[in-house]
Symmetry: C2
Subunit: 408 residues, 2 copies
Amino acid sequence: MKIIVQKYGGSSISTPEKIIKVAKRILELAEMGKAIAVVVSAMGDTTDRLIEMAKDISPNPPYREMDMLMATGEQVSIALLSMAINNLGGTSVSLTGAQSGIVTDGRHRNAKIKKVKIERIMNLFKEGKVVIVAGFQGISSESEITTLGRGGSDTSAAALAAALNADCCEILTDVEGVYTADPNIVNNAAKLNYISYEEMLEFAGSGAKVLHPRAVEIVMKFGIPLVVKSAHTPGNGTTIVEDKMLERVAVTGVTVDRNVAKIAIQKVPDTPGIAATIFSAISKTGINIRLIIQGISDGKYSDITMLSDKEDMESVVKVLERVCPKIKAGGVTFNDGMAEVSVIGSGIASSTGVAAKIFKTLSDNNINIDSISTSHIRIACVIDQQKVETAVKAIHRAFKLEELIRKI
Amino acid sequence: MKIIVQKYGGSSISTPEKIIKVAKRILELAEMGKAIAVVVSAMGDTTDRLIEMAKDISPNPPYREMDMLMATGEQVSIALLSMAINNLGGTSVSLTGAQSGIVTDGRHRNAKIKKVKIERIMNLFKEGKVVIVAGFQGISSESEITTLGRGGSDTSAAALAAALNADCCEILTDVEGVYTADPNIVNNAAKLNYISYEEMLEFAGSGAKVLHPRAVEIVMKFGIPLVVKSAHTPGNGTTIVEDKMLERVAVTGVTVDRNVAKIAIQKVPDTPGIAATIFSAISKTGINIRLIIQGISDGKYSDITMLSDKEDMESVVKVLERVCPKIKAGGVTFNDGMAEVSVIGSGIASSTGVAAKIFKTLSDNNINIDSISTSHIRIACVIDQQKVETAVKAIHRAFKLEELIRKI
């Protein structure tokens, strides 16, 4: 029995018509004899509407009760999609996160999946049923309803695919696959037929909204083939495979992450243990700092610069302003007008001249690079947010990415 | 530890403001040291909205998926009410039907509660938490989400009160209690301070919308004191107690049930077994027939008249039209322009002259009685729907119900 896990996002099921369309697509697959588990998000703007309702009641609702509230969004979706499939002559059963056997660690609003008990789904497969699973949610061992945080439905789909040892995990979305750059910025961006797990992880982690990095990590770990394709049109989309299977290409894409804030502490005394004091204070808040750059010392002082998510900037600044007097540092500055442009490709580390070409391209376009970080498949430059489109277009052109046809 | 179970209906929590008002009221009770479980329905018109969504997808959705969909309504309510209580400084925990331990027989859309596992609620009481329970829903032993059908939230509250051996079950509603007649019809109707379980059952079963008979049956069986009172204003409401505790009053109220249809089969041959043929055919549909009146035979034929709920009339007529040719009966007639006016009181059976007074009052007002049925605490007359208000007003006046002050 071939097992396929599909995931449809909220915009693919935002109206009754769209739900019926998705149901038809699922039935076509079921008629080919495949066992199908479908993970769905909340319809359209349901999540925003629920958050709005909570805000009308309490400025600071308990995370537990937010989870209780939010989980209803996906429950509505699974019931309606299952009704649509049954109405078209198929047989399907909707399951909440708890009923699907998705067990979490119980951390509200940001739970991790601990395991997936697959018995119920496997039994339903044996009865020939399509299984519709509520994404984004699970249940803890104390029977608490928990949600998975950002990218939750992608993560649900990936975890289910791994637990079911699925033949494929398909992410159905509003775009036709993974592109060399955001087609809204670069109108001749090329769709990649293939991409490696590692590249996908960098794409997902550096601004490409098509898929959440947590989901990529899971399918990568378990070696489950993953495909990103359009929910609306036919097409093969982008298949994510192991790196060693792919023909080598230095650069596969350019991504943009506008969710970047830069925070700096000026005139930090050059005393051992100071950096530890700063970062242990920040780590207590649970905020993730993306990058830390320690400036060159003048013998007595140096600056420390860090990048965080935009929404965390205020909290980080507060912590630092408390720490500053204690360590006798100069003061804190911050800027949320930044963006990060990343160039991604499995071949970057081994190809000479890629970094140099990026820097030259930006410089030719009068774009100042604020900071640079590199991994073996990514070069990320923080620049002024105003210059993002120019930078992406220029880099895309410089590497001739519009001509890229990625093959196995 | 005094345990109180409260139930708030959908109209009492239809807006954020109303939810916050209810939260305040609950906290006042909690501050008196009581352990409180609060059962809530779906907010305002949520249920209608969910039904509408389902209709847009499928004309005939599976009952299982309807339950999956409908159960989200109460889940939203419990989360929001719990947020409101926490925001006001209280501590509360919301629980779905499943989490509350409400175990049902698994019959979708019309489940019966089999048992209530109270461990989790009792533990939360010990931690000093207010427990907010989703009404109308439970979970079967196969982990299927099931809803309880009409009056479901009243039933949830009564079952919880019975399982927790609560000191009181309070039904908070839009009216101040149980009245001698619908105040919309009789403007000087009197609020009853006390009423017996049996009388309440008849009130609930014959058109008074204030409380569902299933809930009355449960509290009656377990001897749990029940109070019906306003969710919005202070006041003692109506307390339901054992009959033997009450001062005796012949007539305590007049109710109206407009949900009555009359169906008749004409010229039914006087042959043994004919009635059995008719009613076994109807019983197969699961429709409840309220009353059957066999007319007096002319030696060869008689008429059979029955009363059903209005929404069942069409189905009953269809069955009878199929049966008629087989038993060689004349034909089927039907009328949904009827209503049932019931006079209720523990003393009716033992008081002479009550029935006579009712018939005389109706006759004085030129109201024709189509059929009559009596129990030991109720006399029910089916009349023309157009004459209902006149009948209720006249009976109320005849028995001087506006002067009634029911005492213990």
